[in-house]
Symmetry: C2
Subunit: 314 residues, 2 copies
């Protein structure tokens, strides 16, 4: 079997003999990769047949990572290939959906920024309904499903219906932003803790105190916080972070519209307004041990950011 | 071209005509996957030739994820395939190394738990030395290189030598542990912030106050904290977390030796001792909003943990 057959468990319409006759290092590589993946994923099988569908359903909450198709894990790609139906929302890049089998049913459960998405309860209901039909359901979520992905609610709905549910982890936005900016999120003697938080709350807490954990020795990654930037910057300064402390803004990381901006805590809200940053962005603030920012990323304030798409903010 | 050729940019010794003649859904799938990955990774090229090596070197700090080969990203696999030399340490599973090309030079820079690793300065020096020879260097790191991966030091060494350096993000241990345990790390109305911290400090701060950010509305993921468990549990209880609050212990997530244990804050140190947990583990503590733990994972204290390898702790 080839790597593809092993990895995706899909019959490939090339005679196995042809591949077996292949020689040279490439065929060795493929055999080794295939064997490795085989051993690591013994539970996988081919896409379900109509007969199997009657017997069992399954829900996988799959992390799509930040956007780029090549930042999916191999396991996530396999789940997409095995799915009978995929529920996705606006944050999942169209490129990622192309990794599924053609003909896989795709259901869009959210609209674009600022418009309404499906209520969570409706999503819970439809994924369970599809699984109860015996189908393999993938709920594809931006980033990591366990981090600001509302996985709890979908897992509870599946559990109540007796549907097996699997979590497939993904690259969370903070990791992707740090990598794109060429900076580490933790650093010895500077930040020994990383806080992932959000400026966007829920109905019972619409304006969460998302800066409450920021302080000396931390990096804080603010998710979904662009609209709350002025409030959170004011809070950080009230807590003692100097106004000239750098803030990295990573917009649409790994997507075609990726942009990086360098601001300071004091200029954050103005930079966001001036640069028309409205959508999917991560704000990274390192508050160094000792309290005075000394380490900056490669997109430090006032310098030209690196990378072809990078922009230096005002 | 096949997916494999596009994905790994390695000549495959099968006539292209043979693949082009293939019909049916599988070949369509492969063409679509290949096109997608091609578009997303235009910067990739084949492994370097001796001539190219004279012209340029490159260092990629690549996240290997928690252990299982299928939890690498597609981009990480590509970097392994392109590497001339790979530096890895004890936390990287041998299965992952099999994803590299045969004949790739592999350098082990760390020893097993409790024994000495290479000093960081030596690692910095050798990766730069190899890149200055014009080689493609992969520094393969467990988890995400930007989270407790000492990426800052290796990036600084590369920058000082003028070597281009790339960060490839990986699945960090907290994400992997949450997924393995079937629990979300954040949850509306329970925990709106996630703290990643470590009980193992550096020379200047050997016993960091790793519980300082834990409090109502947080989940804390403690990395490298097994040996500090009694101290951190005492600190959590002193801060007001009830002794019967659940703690999930995820050991060697996604590796062959994976085990899950359920403890409470009060029993944590005793469970770790009784179950002989000494190595690579993540401790997850959710301190719910309102202060009283009400939500537990599927491996809640006192219940049999799920999964074939799971064990219920004392």
């Amino acid at each position: 079997m080839t790597l593809l057959q092993r990895l995706f468990h899909i019959p490939l319409f090339v005679p196995v003999q042809t591949l077996a006759l292949a020689s040279g290092p490439a065929s060795l590589i493929l055999a080794r990769v295939g064997r490795t993946l085989d051993r690591m994923t013994p539970q996988l099988s081919a896409p379900s047949t109509p007969k199997e569908r009657q017997a069992k359903g399954h829900i996988a909450l799959v992390g799509a990572g930040p956007g780029a198709a090549d930042l999916l894990t191999l396991r996530a790609v396999k789940r997409l290939q095995q799915a009978d139906v995929i529920f996705y929302d606006r944050l999942v890049d169209p490129e990622v959906l192309e990794l599924a089998r053609p003909g896989t049913e795709m259901v869009f459960v959210g609209k674009h920024v600022g418009a309404h998405s499906w209520p969570q309860e409706k999503i819970n209901r439809v994924i369970v309904t599809e699984a109860l039909k015996g189908r393999r359901v993938v709920r594809l979520k931006s980033g990591d499903p366990g981090i600001f992905g509302r996985a709890s609610e979908e897992m509870e709905a599946a559990d109540e219906a007796g549907i097996p549910v699997e979590l497939v982890p993904g690259i969370t936005a903070a990791s992707a932003a740090g990598a794109a900016l060429g900076r580490s999120l933790t650093s010895r003697g500077v930040a020994n803790a990383l806080v992932l938080t959000t400026g966007t709350g829920c109905a019972s807490d619409p304006f969460p105190d998302c800066t409450r954990l920021s302080g000396p020795g931390t990096t804080t990654a603010f998710y979904m916080s662009v609209r709350q930037a002025r409030r959170l910057a004011d809070q950080l300064m009230q807590k003692g972070l100097p106004a000239d402390s750098p803030v990295d803004i990573a917009v649409e990381v790994s997507k075609p519209g990726e942009r990086h901006f360098a601001a300071t805590v004091g200029s954050l809200a103005d930079v966001i307004a001036a640069c028309h940053i409205t959508g999917c962005a991560i704000l990274l603030v390192t508050w160094p041990e000792g309290g005075v920012p000394t380490v900056q990323s490669q997109t430090a304030a006032g310098q030209t950011a690196e990378g072809p798409k990078a922009v230096t903010a005002v």
